[in-house]
Symmetry: C3
Subunit: 337 residues, 3 copies
Amino acid sequence: MLTYEERSKLFTIAEPINGDLTGKAVLSVEQFSRSDLDRFFEEADWMKRIKEQNGSTDILRGKILVNLFYEASTRTDSSFSIAMKRLGGEVHNIVGVQFSSVSKGETLSDTVRVLSGYADLIVLRHHQKGAAAEAALAIHKERTKQGLPNIPLINAGDGVGEHPSQALLDTYTINQKCGGLDDLTVGLVGDLKHGRTVHSLAKLLSLYRNVKLIFVSPESLNMPEELVEELKAKGVQMSVAKDINEVANEADVWYITRVQKERFESEEAYQAVSGSYRVTLDTVASMKPTAIIMHPLPRVGEIDEAVDELPQAVYFEQASNGMYVRMALLSGVLGKW
Amino acid sequence: MLTYEERSKLFTIAEPINGDLTGKAVLSVEQFSRSDLDRFFEEADWMKRIKEQNGSTDILRGKILVNLFYEASTRTDSSFSIAMKRLGGEVHNIVGVQFSSVSKGETLSDTVRVLSGYADLIVLRHHQKGAAAEAALAIHKERTKQGLPNIPLINAGDGVGEHPSQALLDTYTINQKCGGLDDLTVGLVGDLKHGRTVHSLAKLLSLYRNVKLIFVSPESLNMPEELVEELKAKGVQMSVAKDINEVANEADVWYITRVQKERFESEEAYQAVSGSYRVTLDTVASMKPTAIIMHPLPRVGEIDEAVDELPQAVYFEQASNGMYVRMALLSGVLGKW
Amino acid sequence: MLTYEERSKLFTIAEPINGDLTGKAVLSVEQFSRSDLDRFFEEADWMKRIKEQNGSTDILRGKILVNLFYEASTRTDSSFSIAMKRLGGEVHNIVGVQFSSVSKGETLSDTVRVLSGYADLIVLRHHQKGAAAEAALAIHKERTKQGLPNIPLINAGDGVGEHPSQALLDTYTINQKCGGLDDLTVGLVGDLKHGRTVHSLAKLLSLYRNVKLIFVSPESLNMPEELVEELKAKGVQMSVAKDINEVANEADVWYITRVQKERFESEEAYQAVSGSYRVTLDTVASMKPTAIIMHPLPRVGEIDEAVDELPQAVYFEQASNGMYVRMALLSGVLGKW
């Protein structure tokens, strides 16, 4: 538990972005306003152009990123690492930390305090909710004590907590493909109860005008009630469906996530409903021709491979956007916007 | 199984080198002609001079290699990584992929499609034959769909399939040490049945004039019959021996590989013959003074350590050549020849 | 066992520093004289200024470090890696080598001979005492045979043997915080029997004038008798105490290390004494106001977290100094002093 004093300190390092990421901890999508997102998407567009025209730049030459991943995550780890390298910076990867000091019983706070003495920036992936805030606070305390400037930290997923760079790349992709985020109907499909991805995405979408959400999930994996209340209070219109095929033509964006077999009482219970959350060629045939199909990946059968070649399937471009979005984040917290 | 259409697409990305590696997938030694090898050796020589005179260069500044190793392989991984760094490029290593997305059930095709959105080049090591071709095809499809140029892929070993950079460094070493590859007698020793290394080497040697091969292996680990037929058709002269010591004076090059105990019915069966495939000081004393002894490494007793200091022992230089050859490959597929 | 001839060769590559680290193997603190340390601290100060003023430099541009860690060690691995990157060099990390060639039975000597063909410098962590010397010798032999200059190797911990860069960062920190190393009283606390860290530190301190050591440890984990004799012969004054709280006011430097529960006969035996080696706010209240508290980290309860915010607590700065010291070592062996 954080004390009141600790919470106040945390606020000063994880405060609202307000157009400037420099030196800040990026812990939650709730730090971003609509105008922060507008600005952010511009920077990400710029990064995309750098990649396509020159491959790389050197604005972060001499800067060192430590990727501290207590859980392996190829996609997130790789895209942050390569984003940093494309900006001219260097990366030190610490993946699967159970093999090292941590297995000797060191606390997360001690580990990040040490690493903040070596690095210019830390990206943290951890299995416990709140780990990123705890780490950011520990760094802030030690740096303040030593009279040194803060070392920014980016939350790359803290258990069932947040994963802000994922929600940023999702909204960036929708913005890019749909020409904006107002007046859209977005279908969220799969396990909506445990998916931090869909929770963060829904929160960011609530910043936009006239957004409608369609939830398609097994009843036991419904969107959490308190999040539904929060979205309602912000004016988001919501509806629920049992089968994506029944409402396929209603959404501009279909965001598919995985439904894990293990969440069901039996194999039979799973098989009985799994088709309702799966995208096939038939499903796509019922969609609007301009609809896009997204997935945070990895997928395990939720979208048939035959769908990959259709223009609606943008999930691999979405993954590529992850790199541009992370380039924008890294350059932002290091003061290069 | 690949469809006919898929095979045709594959042909266009893994086609014969014909003097230009730019943008191509390097899947098999069969893509190289004799004149491709001549050209390749010149480039590798050039890389050796760069290393010896300047250490590094920066012709690949800003380019990013992803090393995707489903199986760890220190030597191959390290030499590709360091080759890339010596050319001024950057590397992101993904080793032992079982820890990450893949353990969530993602297919190889999905993984490489995502990575091809981040990287300029992928080097793949996988335990299944055909994996490299499958991956190259998946990348090619996705890049074509997105209207982007292809991302080259280098096969760094696909199970019992191919490992072309190993065969290239082996022939490069023979060419360097023997002043050419025509008119040579090469002894291949050890497990000739399962060794993709010796198979690929034999194929490349068959491109040269008046090549004689001597096979020294336990009967149960003989060279596969269909490869023997293929070599015969290309005019390679072949003979078989039971013990390297009986024919030690016949070869210009001795290429030693490991014979695994596990291949034998019993420890006794192994002990009874293992001396016949082992190189000792006595074995070397019977060799031509100009003969060279090679080994793909790691060795586990096939060559006595006392042999290491003799001029005939070139296996550590052979390993060093691996880096020059990989520098030539990397710069080639990225269009820098 | 090394032969006489091998020992002599080893002497030429791991000889006394004598003001010049270029091309040398750094295996032991015993290679450093007092004037070597003076010079070394100046270089480390310089590295600290580079970090604080510019972040990075490029004096090692184009040089490649291989970090070969048979045991994972986040702190040591990270600080060497990032030190190299801050100097403009590149790093290839091989951590947890059990997954690779080594699991195929390759010897350490073979592994480093291969890697010395790729790298400009090797940092080795190994679980066996003497491993670093063996590796340095193997590299030296192969390089000599090939007529090439030596590749330096730095011992980053060889079992119960040495860990010279740790002792260098410890003395550097004391020198920095206390304005010198003469006339100091240093308390060494914890497991003094097995701790290579305290052994190497005591050896380096013995190079200074009027040094007093206080040993605080369970009787079964006392300082080894032969080391005590060696220190006595060098004029070091030593005393022993049972509880840090009884002598807290006597030392200028308190160096705390871990006491592992497993070293005791029972949980009760451990609990009965563990308070005697633990630093609390009360302990610090009894210390000299100018005393400093050090710890090689990771800590697991030996120092209360409440102590972290006090000015006496310098262990995180000590960790940061590890990077500057390693920058000085790396640039030194590559001839950049």
